[in-house]
Amino acid sequence: MITTLAALRPGQTAVLRAVGGERTWRRRLLELGFVPGTDLALVRRVGVGDLLEVELRHSRISLRISEARALEVEARP
């Protein structure tokens, strides 16, 4: 199912399909390994900061939920 990174449930895995957003930020994400085809998992959401934590290639990266909508993923059930 195609959705955005922001819509994943904690613990759910997905394959990254496309990365959008402003160029500097997008380049930073790409260089941290957010390239299409990469497996990733949503670790958790944190309420206060409206952030989520993603695991990919054994690294943990946090993004704002609002900004994670720019990442399109194919969710695994």
């Binding site: 380049r27 790409l30 944190v46 900061g49 054994h58 946090s62 993004l63």
Partner: protein, 718 residues
């Protein structure tokens, strides 16, 4: 012959600084890279073959790509572009537990054709968790490069690492890695290659292509890169336009090619990543970044930091003050009365005291900061505070400096170093000095105590319960906090515009901070403060002393050995008051009276304001001298009474509650602290920002006091 330079590069949180410390021992030179405020550290190291090398620490980065001058330092220093000398070898430190991501930087460094050694850090963690990372296989993947497993924290593998560095320094460059570009990307790179300056590529084709790729990824119409040849910029922008028109995604293609190479190769290197690796960190994070519990713990921790800066540092500060007074008294007692004696005791020694008195708070704050940073907690704090700070246009990392500003702006401004973006650092530095620092308290206590009724006096309570004096004190804290946040919001939308950057934050695994690194950080910060902000503070305090002591009146100087009798003491105090009146500072007070009269201040307050520039609390002792009520710790009570009875020539009271309020507001907002200005100068490496800070805060203070005083009068208060 100059010593070979070995650059140490690596991702943030990979243990690079710990390795640097391990290689260089205790004698690093800390400065800035030319033209930016990015910290540059270098130190000496002896290799096993007897050769001495200079070890240069490259700022931690995930990639060499850059968009700002600050980010550009990494490529400039690694590749040795003008004006930085090319390193003779590069050690890339990688975190073995997150190898894939770290290899991205390794690949970029290798493309630049430099003698390279990979330090496979966290060997201890790998072993403990039964993970397998095959160094020999990684070396094959990287074209035969030396790969040395190390544990920077314990020093394991450092000897082997030094041997490997010595070896690559002797050997020729290995063959270039096969290029990864497909046919389309090759065409893009080829179009840019002719515009890469010869001084950058040094005639090496692989390096030229690498720099073309760097330019394609880094340059864009809004970048803030420095020293990029216009022809190269033109060629890149043209190529980016063509690619976009053809629907090709240059950035993604360039990065994805490297990650394809990484993913293909890393399988054979890392055989098993056990699930235990993150277990502890995950367990701790369930508490520490919990929306409620984590937030509470963070606030608790901040309270401890604040309490330590505010209260625990006090005995140390008193100790410094006591020692300085003792030395000054010793000088005064052992030398005959002369200008030189006074200069030494009241100017130079007092000035040195004004520098050293900040050390307790700097040491304490950096103790907390480096433990927070090294343990991985700082990233979580930024995470927790992101939403709150984003609302006023700052990053989560600005929170700790802002809170520290309640104790003292000096360490708080130094703490802005933990922020990545220059805009965020500058903006934070410009608003932190508004926070109610501890130096304002003696002034507030004096003014509130003198001009507002105590609880037992008529009108001293509000609703029969709250003390008016206490309410005003609390109000001053609220006022400064609101004003600082407002200033951040306004400056962030005007002078420091620039979109709030989308957040990408790494949450590194928790690690036990190495005491050596923590101590080293505390030592380095203190040393930098003393050597770089110290001279400015010293010169200013000597200047202020001269201003307030010269020219000397006819009255004899009061201080001297032998206890004066009571009558003589009163005479001496009167003489000192007369001296101050005659001094340049006293005249300056008269001179500025027209400017401060609309705020309700007379020239005597003007003299106090000038004295307060040395440090705000000096206002109290300067006013003590102005009114001839003596000096030192005993001044507060008689001064309070004196203020209550001071009148204008026409008999009106000078110090009414309205004047008091105006004075409080002025002290809350004015940049009356030369040490703050000196430290901003050191941190921004320019006079521009301290001048701006002084101007805008003082203007704001003047306007706010004017509004309070004139507005109050219009409302019928006196």
């Amino acid at each position: 012959m100059s010593r070979p330079v070995v650059a140490i590069a690596g991702n943030p949180n990979c243990g690079k600084t710990t390795l640097f410390n391990g290689l260089t021992g205790a004698n690093a030179k800390v400065g800035n890279y030319p033209g930016v405020t990015v910290e540059r550290r270098e130190g000496g190291c002896s290799l096993p073959d007897g050769r001495d090398v200079v070890v240069l620490d490259i700022p931690g980065t995930y990639s060499l790509s850059a968009r700002s001058h600050e980010e550009q330092i990494a490529i400039t220093a690694v590749a040795g572009l003008n004006p930085i000398r090319e390193p003779d070898a590069v050690v890339v430190v990688v975190d073995s537990t997150q190898l894939a991501r770290n290899l991205y930087l390794v690949r970029q460094v290798l493309e630049l054709r430099l003698r390279t050694v990979v330090a496979l850090n966290m060997a201890d963690v790998v072993r403990k968790h039964g993970m397998r990372v095959d160094a020999a296989q990684l070396s094959r993947m990287l074209g035969g490069l030396p790969v040395v497993p190390i544990a920077a924290v314990s020093g394991e593998g450092l000897a082997e690492l030094k041997q490997a560095v010595a070896r690559v320094l002797r050997e020729d460059l290995p063959a270039a890695l096969p290029e990864l570009d497909g046919a389309e990307l090759r065409a893009d790179v080829d179009a840019v290659v002719p515009h890469v300056p010869e001084a950058w590529s040094r005639g090496d084709n692989a390096r030229r292509a690498a720099l073309a790729r760097w330019a394609l990824l880094s340059i864009d119409p809004q970048d803030e890169l420095w020293d990029v040849p216009p022809a190269l910029r033109q060629a890149v922008l043209e190529r980016q336009r063509l690619a976009a028109a053809a629907g090709r995604d240059l950035d993604q293609t360039l990065v994805a090619a490297r990650y394809r190479w990484i993913d293909d190769g890393v399988h054979a290197v890392v055989s098993r990543v056990p699930s235990t690796l993150r277990r502890l960190t995950d367990a701790v994070d369930r508490v520490l970044i919990h929306p409620a519990v984590g937030f509470l713990i963070f606030l608790l921790l901040m309270t401890v930091v604040f309490e330590s800066l505010f209260t625990w540092s006090q005995p140390l500060i008193d100790g410094v003050d006591g020692a300085v007074s003792a030395v000054a008294a010793g000088v005064r007692a052992s030398l005959p009365a002369s200008f030189l004696r006074d200069l030494l005791a009241d100017g130079i020694i007092a000035g040195l005291g004004a520098v050293l008195v900040f050390l307790p708070q700097i040491l304490l704050l950096f103790l907390f900061l480096s433990v927070m940073e090294d343990s991985g907690y700082m990233a979580r704090a930024a995470f927790l505070m992101d939403r709150v700070m984003k609302a006023i246009g700052l990053t989560g990392r600005a929170f700790v400096p802002m809170i520290s500003g309640f104790a003292c702006a000096i360490p708080a401004i130094m703490a802005t170093r933990t922020m990545e973006r220059r805009r965020d650092r500058l903006l934070t530095m410009m608003v932190v000095p508004i926070m109610t620092c501890s130096a304002r308290l003696p002034v507030y206590t004096l003014v509130i105590g003198a001009l507002f009724p105590a609880p037992h006096e008529p009108g001293g309570t509000w609703l029969g319960f709250f003390s008016v004096q206490a309410l005003i004190m609390v109000g001053m804290y609220l006022f400064s906090t609101v004003l600082a946040l407002l200033a951040a919001a306004v400056l962030g939308r005007t002078l420091f515009r620039g979109a709030t950057v989308p957040l990408v934050l790494e949450l590194p695994p928790y690690r036990m901070p190495a005491p050596r690194s923590v101590l080293r950080m505390m030592w380095e910060r203190s040393r930098l403060f003393v050597t770089e902000a110290g001279p400015t503070i010293l010169v200013c305090s000597i200047g202020l002393w001269l201003l307030l002591s010269f020219p000397r009146g006819a009255a004899p100087t009061a201080s001297g050995p032998g206890a004066p009798v009571a009558g003589a003491a009163a005479d001496a105090a009167a003489a000192r008051a007369e001296n101050l009146r005659q001094s340049y500072g006293g005249r300056l007070g008269h001179l500025i009276e027209p400017a401060i009269a609309p705020l309700g201040f007379d020239w005597k307050i003007g003299v106090g304001l000038i004295g307060a520039f040395a440090a705000r609390e000096v206002f109290v002792s300067t006013m003590g001298v102005v009114y001839g009520v003596g000096e030192g710790d005993q001044v507060a009570t008689p001064l309070r009474e004196r203020l209550q009875h001071e009148t204008w020539p026409d008999g009106r009271r000078v110090y009414t509650p309205l004047v008091g309020l105006s004075l409080l507001v002025f002290f809350a907002l004015a940049a009356q602290c030369m040490s703050t200005l000196a430290v901003v100068r050191r941190e921004t490496a320019s006079w521009r920002w301290p001048i701006f800070l002084f101007t805008y805060m003082t203007a704001l203070a003047w306007l706010a006091s004017l509004a309070v005083f004139q507005g109050g009068r219009m409302l019928g208060f006196t």
